[in-house]
Symmetry: C2
Subunit: 86 residues, 2 copies
Amino acid sequence: MDIQLSDVIGHVAAFLTTVSFVPQVVRVVQTKSTKDISLGMFLLMASGVTLWLIYGLMIMQWPLIMCNGATILLVMVILYYKLRYK
Amino acid sequence: MDIQLSDVIGHVAAFLTTVSFVPQVVRVVQTKSTKDISLGMFLLMASGVTLWLIYGLMIMQWPLIMCNGATILLVMVILYYKLRYK
């Protein structure tokens, strides 16, 4: 199996799962409506992504560190709106 | 750095980010209300997680394969409800 191809796919995958939170952030900021969003989902996601970041720091993998750092910020915005405008 | 500890943290991180979708699935199934959920988020997430699964298959990493396989199913349920009950 071509390692370089798998690396490209892994990086595109990481980029997509990270930026996927952007449209949700835009939506909650614009609408300030979060009734249908699960608080549990974003609390678990914040916990998991924080551990991914710690994992990335432990093995010093910069793509993991950057993607999960960005994801934490996006998830925190969603959580802030969920808790403020529930 | 202790490799075994980082492996444990990575596995717990993968478990948390995977199961984080469960409360959102429960919520959309119970309420059939998906107005506040971003279609863009879950389309991008489905694309990214599919690539993560392909990446996991290319490097034959069973934790990646299982977590992303499970996540795809959960995200698909949310997308189904989003498209059906928008």
